[in-house]
Symmetry: C2
Subunit: 340 residues, 2 copies
DNA sequence: TAGATGCAGTTAAACGTTTAAACAAATTGT
DNA sequence: ACAATTTGTTTAAACGTTTAACTGCATCTA
């Protein structure tokens, strides 16, 4: 039952525990004969060094904490699966593991961070969905504890992050729609306090201007990231007088794009012809929608790898060369934007 | 920077480290005055016991491992989000945490289990998506290492599991369809080697018999859990001669149900009237499909709680009262089955 | 009054590693 | 040929807890 310890191996090989450690970690010259004896003994007993003991001695945990707020039942998190996979996979390459802990509220989350830092539960944190004035960022910066973020926050705060270039993303969407012949392009934006929403709106505005297209103020619709809000507001857009009625919608998420599609369907408007719709995220279901949804895919795997590489460096006290990484999303063209 | 240790607290309070430990863990009678001094000193220094040290001494990790195979890009895992939340939340209540580690292949996964057991990385495992002759179950049973499974396996293997009653689920779906007036009900089943698929098929057959409805062999279609297969095979069903053509489909998953709906749409058949469709899982997107998808919701939160309660008991060497838990799914009726 | 009992605290070992320092033996340099 | 260096190994401390065993001391019991 009980696993063999380094002492058992030492006894079996007839050497000291130090020698066993040196051999197994290759951390010092050891005689050929002794090395052989140790390795054989370790093999024979099936010995593997106990991780807790090693961690205590090294005062590290090789654990990285990741927390996310549970998704409300009427929404979905299109990338959690991929993201968790990406960071766990990347962490494994550095011999780290991911510790997950969900928190219902922001206060609870902050308390857990405090706790974990003080009790030495993890070596660092991965944040996601950061926003302006993000309390988590503020707290961790103040504690000077290693962390990285998927998402940006206040520009004056100096911390390592990776983000998707949302501005470029919506700009790509608009350019694509313009190329398809659409002109009256609306934008389903997130509330003003969302930094990500600001970037995406910015890309829309920039690309519209670049294309020499005027923007009717009614075309910029701010709603929460909810299907029903997007649905309702899109119905509103479609009821605008003919001249002002949008012929395309760039949504800030696939969830909202689905709301827009459903609104058009229920209004008897053909999606992909009379109304083009573009989403954001490339949720797994996007390709199976009718019509299949044109959307912006985030390079989740690369994001995860970059984040972990930076975080591991921070945990080991190394400097991070380039702590601000902005990656472009990829436009995945499907029928909802009139192509094909 | 460095956190205070129990020695710092002891010095600050003018007592021994043992006393500090006794006070903070409430594990022994301690004088009122001394207790006060210790607590104040701990407060003053912001002391929290180091978890690694505590774990080493207790020879435990308070970590539970959970692994899942990454979802292929053309599929989706409708419940990972909820499930991870449920187990992490439940674990937290017992002061445990979830360690995630994805594995690409089954061999890799088995190797990782071995590794984690031998190095004492975790106290127990949570498996999901178990099947007949599941190598993970076999391995962990042989190692006599604590684990629980979301899903069943060979009946002769004695281990703790929680599962959704798939047989009852599809039976509920069939009864509901019969009540709605459908008679020629088909079933999109999983391959024969899928235990879960067997149960779901069994429920379909039982309920059809119970309703006194004959089953045309062509109505039982076996495919992988993929949209495109379900789509293709549903097209086939819809091309059957009028008398044999199904008027309803019970799918083994929401992903397959989406394939069926799309097949009907593309064949110009109205879903929810000419063809009813029922899915399984209640994926977050199910309610936003057109028509909204009738489906069977799994009680994920309860599953997670039950699993963790059992696993924690096993980790602490306690006996589990009822190690086999079968929970009924809940039929969520929406328009795709002709209701409303 | 001597012994037993209770109480409140301390000492020291233990958990299983790693690693700096010490040591003995073999090798090198002059 | 003797000191200096190198090589291979061991001893012992350290990481930060918990806890069994022990020590005084006061109180009770017969």
């Amino acid at each position: 039952m009980a696993s063999p310890t380094i002492r058992d191996v030492a006894r079996e090989a007839g050497v000291s525990t130090a020698t066993v450690s040196y051999v197994l970690n290759n951390s010092r010259r050891v005689g050929e004969e002794t090395r052989r004896k140790v390795i054989e003994a370790a093999m024979r007993l099936g010995y593997r060094a106990n991780i807790t003991a090693r961690n205590l001695q090294a005062s590290e945990t090789r654990l990285l904490g990741y927390s996310w707020r549970p998704t409300p039942p009427d929404q979905f998190n299109p990338i959690l699966d991929q993201f968790l996979n990406a960071i766990a996979q990347a962490a494994a390459h550095h011999e780290y593991h991911i510790l997950t802990f969900p928190a219902e509220t922001i206060e609870e989350e902050l308390a857990i961070y405090q706790d974990m830092v003080l009790t030495g539960q993890v070596d660092g944190f991965i944040l996601s969905n950061t926003n302006l004035n993000d309390e988590r960022v503020r707290t961790l910066l103040k504690m000077e504890f290693p962390f990285v973020a998927f998402g940006r926050s206040n520009p004056e705060w100096d911390f390592a992050w990776v983000d998707v270039d949302g501005k470029e993303g919506t700009a790509m969407a608009v350019r694509h729609l313009v190329q398809q012949g659409y002109r009256r392009i609306a934008h389903l934006a997130w509330p003003e306090d969302s930094l990500t929403g600001q970037y995406r709106l910015g890309g829309y505005q920039a690309a519209m201007e670049e294309a020499g297209l005027g923007v009717d103020p009614a075309w910029i619709v701010r709603t929460e990231n909810r299907h029903d809000d997007a649905y309702r507001r899109t119905r509103g857009l479609l009821e605008l007088p003919r001249q002002r009625r949008p012929d395309a919608v760039v949504a800030s998420s696939d969830l909202m794009a689905i709301g827009a599609i459903n609104a058009a369907l229920d209004a008897g408007i053909e999606v992909g012809k009379e109304l083009a719709v573009v989403g954001f995220d490339d949720a797994p279901v996007a390709r199976y929608l009718r019509p299949p949804l044109t959307t912006l895919r985030q390079p989740i795997t690369e994001i995860g790898e970059r984040l972990i590489t930076m975080l591991v460096a921070l945990c080991q006290g190394r400097r991070v060369d380039d702590p601000h990484v902005l990656l472009p999303p990829q436009l995945v063209v499907r029928a909802s934007s009139g192509a094909g």
